[in-house]
């Protein structure tokens, strides 16, 4: 058996969880007088599935938006791959290798599934305008190479049959899958999933859970996800952050979180006397 480095550990099911890739340090986010996030710190380690849960309005999506650069927190620091991240535009964050999906699907409706997934390869395609205009050299080569990679993702997510269909014509469940394919095509170092199973039936949820686990397993993708379905969260994730009213009330393995009194109070309510 290979030696596990000091900063890593092996899970029960045999996956190696590496060192910290991203660390949020004392993040506070305000909208005018409203505090969306208050002094939250947590880390995401390489190769793990990290869940962020909490009741409605707890600030989970705001947290994801801070990570992906939509919101700039008033206080606190984001550390990524061992360095403090300066204030960045969302597209710069994406270029650093952080991909995400949205709660309400954000696909390009007028483009085919293939083109949508190909846009995920933006970071890997660098041909300049002239090369692209002539369709020569690098441009031609990159199109073919990246198409091959994208086809692998398309196979993996089982959307081959709709490859050339415009996204606007697809049903909801498939759209969710295409959005996942686009994020995965970017070969992200962290993949953020904002409620990947919202609005799905049990069968679709099972499919999606399988894809998330397989992704993590086969590509070693680090995943941070927000989800409301407790059963799903507890089954999928390695560690869970629990938020309530913008504050962190729990952090740990699913078992630790399940038995945390604050978490139980937040979810079930607590008697006031």
């Amino acid at each position: 058996m290979t030696q596990v480095p000091a900063d890593s550990y092996v899970t029960e099911d045999g996956r190696t969880i590496g060192p910290t890739v991203m660390e949020m340090k004392n993040i506070t986010l305000r909208f005018g007088g409203v505090k969306a996030i208050t002094d939250i710190s947590f880390d995401i380690r390489e190769g793990e599935i990290r869940a962020i849960i909490g009741p409605n309005g707890a600030g989970k999506s705001s947290m994801l938006n801070v990570i992906s650069g939509f919101y700039v927190p008033q206080e606190g620091e984001v550390w990524y791959k061992g360095a403090k991240r300066p204030a960045m535009k969302p597209y710069q964050v994406a270029q650093q290798g952080i991909a995400r999906t949205f709660q309400n699907i954000a696909l390009f409706e007028g483009m085919s599934v293939l083109d949508n997934v190909m846009t995920g390869r933006l970071r890997q395609m660098n041909a300049n305008l002239i090369q692209q205009a002539l369709w020569k050299g690098r441009a031609e080569k990159e199109e073919v190479e990246n198409r091959a990679f994208v086809e692998k993702i398309i196979d993996f997510l089982e959307i081959q049959h709709i490859r050339k269909t415009p996204v606007g014509r697809l049903p909801y469940g498939l759209k969710k899958r295409v959005e996942l394919a686009r994020a995965l095509a970017a070969e992200p170092s962290i993949l953020l999933l904002d409620e990947p199973m919202a609005g799905m039936n049990v069968e679709e949820k099972e499919d999606m859970s399988r894809f998330i686990l397989d992704m993590n397993d086969e590509f070693g993708t680090t995943i941070a996800l927000i989800e409301h379905d407790m059963g799903v969260v507890m089954d999928l994730s390695d560690r869970v952050v629990v938020m309530d009213y913008g504050k962190k009330i729990g952090d740990g393995t699913p078992d630790e979180v399940r038995n945390n009194q604050d978490v139980i109070d937040a979810y079930l309510g607590v008697a006031h006397d």
Partner: protein, 358 residues
């Protein structure tokens, strides 16, 4: 039946990426190109060139240009006339300042100048969208026309305020000025249109086109997957204005020969090209051709039928022509809001299965 794709398998991604993936389409395209380059030049005379071919070729270039900006990148522009004027005046200044250089180079350089001006007027698009952007580009339209009217340097201090194209040649054959032959001007514009069409197609089927369409369909999602909105929008303005500038240069130098800016490049011109791409189909290169053909050919056809065929007086025919073209536009848009390109796609789908319904 007519339209076979069964048995036409692709075994690599390069084959699947080509412009015409279906063999039948590809051969039809080659045949059309051969016909346009080799047969047509021997058949046409001055009437055909000036009434039909030149306006069709030149408006096609302009329509492709505007379609890249509006149809592919989703940035509405009403400044087309102004940008064509930039191309025309840049070409005029270059022609008169460097008479020994080939007009071909001048036209391309005029496109380059227009691209720079387009980028400048594209800057507001970073902050404003939709109708508001349209109004901002309208400012470009009026400002540019005013500029070329008021600053005598642009028209070389000529007394009339007009610019007129001196005789210039390509490989010793005159393509501008009074002594041109029909086939020369036709071929000159056809070569440029072919280049523009190929470039537009290559850009829109590759990564740059995906970036533009991503911005068009959902700009926030585009940003989150790493599209730099500044670069994507400005590159669309640059490429689009380049093509429109080339069209403007040809419109002035090869087609009209002499122009007065307010007349030739007014707001009407902007709307005309915009209607072409709306009728032809937004976000489609074929649609640009179809729209240009429709709006150029329809009036000529109607005139020939009404005046030549039915013998009506020209003034009644001219009025009726407006009415009929207007009505046809409405009919087309109601029947198929996505333009002629969509009608073409539907027809192809049907032909694949003909004569069977499913």
């Amino acid at each position: 039946m007519f339209y076979r794709e069964a048995g036409d398998f692709k075994t690599n991604y390069a084959d699947d990426n080509q412009t015409f993936p279906i063999k039948f389409d590809r051969y039809r395209y080659y045949a059309l190109m051969l016909f346009a380059f080799i047969v047509v030049p021997f058949l046409i005379n001055d009437y055909w060139v000036n009434a039909i071919f030149l306006p069709f070729l030149i408006y096609s270039i302009a329509a492709i240009g505007l379609n890249i900006l509006v149809g592919y990148c989703g940035q509405v522009s009403l400044g087309t006339g102004g940008f064509m004027a930039v191309g025309a005046y840049a070409c005029y200044k270059l022609m008169t300042s460097f008479p020994e250089i080939s007009i071909f180079i001048h036209v391309l350089l005029a496109g380059g100048v227009t691209a720079l001006v387009g980028v400048l007027f594209g800057l507001p698009s970073l902050r404003i969208k939709g109708f508001y952007l349209a109004v901002a580009t309208l400012a470009a339209q009026f400002f540019l026309v005013w500029l070329f009217n008021r600053v005598p340097w642009f028209y070389n201090y000529s007394a009339s305020g007009q610019i007129s194209a001196p005789e210039r040649t390509v490989f010793g054959v005159a393509v501008t000025g009074p002594n041109t032959s029909a086939w020369a001007t036709y071929l000159f514009c056809l070569v440029l249109l072919t280049i523009v069409g190929l470039i537009a197609r290559n850009l829109t089927r590759g990564m740059q086109g995906r970036k533009w369409m991503a911005i068009r369909d959902m700009d926030i999602a585009a940003e989150i997957i790493g599209v730099n909105p500044l670069k994507a929008k400005l590159s669309a303005f640059a490429v689009s204005s380049f093509f429109i500038g080339v069209a403007g240069a040809l419109y002035f130098s090869v087609y009209l020969g002499a122009v007065e800016v307010g007349e030739a490049f007014g707001i009407n011109q902007s709307f005309l090209v915009l209607f072409m791409i709306i009728i032809g189909g937004l976000g489609s290169i074929f649609g640009s051709f179809a729209g240009a053909a429709f709006l150029v050919l329809m009036p000529v056809l109607l005139k020939n039928v009404l005046v030549g065929g039915l013998g009506w007086p020209t003034d009644i025919a001219a009025h009726l022509e407006f009415l009929i073209v207007g009505a046809l536009i409405i009919v087309f848009l109601i029947a198929e809001p996505h333009g002629l390109a969509q009608l073409w796609r539907v027809a192809k789908e049907k032909l694949r299965l003909w004569p069977f319904p499913h």
